[in-house]
Symmetry: C2
Subunit: 256 residues, 2 copies
């Protein structure tokens, strides 16, 4: 049984890529077979896993636009159990190019149909927008994880995001569920964090993960070494909380 | 003489909105006539200035898509000298809706032609993408300010951003200049910040503003009160460095 999880939030800089990479690596360490898909034109998930984007020949762009076989785009990473479909600079054009393409919302879903059962988890890192790239990801997904930064602006876009998820579920993908909201970059010294957490728990009720990811400089250092946090500094708070989060994801999988 | 400045970076969460609001407010305090345009569907600049998005009748969306007169969308704010063209939820659809519209890249530029000389500065807050909303902003602008977070991923998208600016300058807007890169969320305790700053200074050479904005929790608190930092806590480091940055912008204006 395979589960496709999209990491989505149109607010920028909330920890989508950091969550996608570190969840994927933690699942791989728990002996799951994991495919990570980098759907962001910036390609942060690709470089955060130590892959040089300039050497990437085929990317997710080629699957969405040029009908390239998805298996030809999958590459190995240094993280145990994790393979990657990289992104590269061409993906920037995809939002506009997809508009006039046949079945533009279902390109990713159709491409994944043939390979889905080769993996226990497929994790999709999305760009900070609700355009056709994110819509493709939501339409292909079984579940959505929403990283929410403990900051005021983080509350603003949530209703728009939930509306979009609801629309996709009604019109394109009836199996789509919200797996949960993950609080990120929490600074327990500030009142602001406490206030935002209370708001988010009111908003999402039982859909908020118990694990809260603290602000931890090691998490922002690890991408410069091309490594997920568990391979950069497994003892730090960032690594320990992402491992704990991974356990929550694995436990909830029993329920689905 | 009016100057239109677009605040652009497709990387999310780097301080575009925080820079747009606090630069606009500081320019207003220096007795300049300022128009702030919120081109981000999230509408953070609108709420950061204390305006309730749900009460907004006409927004920048109506100017881009429905040919509404731009003067009918301008509203007052509590910040001295600053008026706003707000954003609202409809703007989310604009990226796709603009694709098949006549002169899709020039909608904002044409709309601003008639009112540009009513202001000393027009500041445009952009979403975290390089799609048609950001292209409209770059095509309408005289200058670009690029906020760059002192983090590893911040370096990744810069060449894509500079390429896009170069293309716009060559094909649509020959007067477009890079006014400068502004380093944000600097944490002087970490090595990472020091390394990123050195990289940015190599990349942008003399186009890096001398002012460096520190990470300062007061800056992330002020939007929850709907106030720019100078009206929330003028003594804090966040306010002092944005006032200093504003002076740099005013000084460089003499050169243009
Ligand atoms: N818990 C954390 N503590 C400290 N830094 C963090 C944490 N999580 C992420 N970061 C850093 O914050 C920045 C933003 O995180 P990230 O890039 O993962 O967000 P994102 O939502 O993927 O951004 P975008 O919207 O641009 O895709 C990055 O530089 C990252 O290294
Ligand atoms: N110097 C700073 N110190 C501390 N927090 C800051 C600073 N600048 C911005 N912030 C906070 O960091 C978050 C991201 O900043 P902001 O929303 O301005 O970035 P952005 O680039 O506009 O994001 P987006 O890409 O989503 O539009 C916000 O919660 C903001 O309040
Ligand atoms: Mg990302
Ligand atoms: Mg913003």
């Amino acid at each position: 049984m395979s589960r496709i999880i999209a990491i989505v939030n149109q607010k920028g800089g909330v920890g989508k890529t950091t969550t996608a990479i570190n969840l994927a690596a933690s699942l791989g360490r728990a002996e799951k077979r994991v495919l990570l898909i980098d759907m962001d034109p910036q390609g942060n998930a690709t470089s955060g896993l130590g892959v040089n984007k300039n050497t990437v020949e085929k990317s997710i762009y080629d699957v969405l636009i040029n009908n390239v076989n998805i298996e030809d785009t999958i590459i190995l990473t240094e993280s145990h159990g994790v393979v990657l479909i990289p992104s590269n600079i061409h993906l920037t054009g995809a939002e506009v190019e997809l508009v006039n393409v046949l079945e533009r919302e279902s390109r990713l879903k159709s491409a994944l149909a043939g390979i889905k059962n080769n993996y226990d988890y497929i994790v999709i890192d999305c760009p900070p927008s609700l355009g056709l790239i994110t819509i493709n990801s939501l339409n292909a997904a079984d579940g959505v994880i929403i990283p929410v930064q403990c900051e005021y602006y983080a509350l603003e876009g949530l209703s728009q995001l939930l509306n979009t998820i609801k629309l996709i579920k009604e019109r394109l993908n009836p199996r789509l569920e919200i797996d949960g909201a993950l609080l990120t970059m929490h600074d327990d010294r500030t009142n602001l964090s406490k206030q935002v957490i209370q708001e988010i728990q009111k908003y999402f009720a039982d859909k908020v993960y118990k694990t809260i990811i603290p602000r931890n400089v090691r998490l922002s250092e690890s991408p410069s070494y091309g490594k997920p946090i568990i391979y950069y500094d497994i003892k730090c708070r960032g690594a320990q909380t992402y491992l704990q989060f991974c356990n929550e994801v694995l436990e909830s999988a029993q329920i689905f």
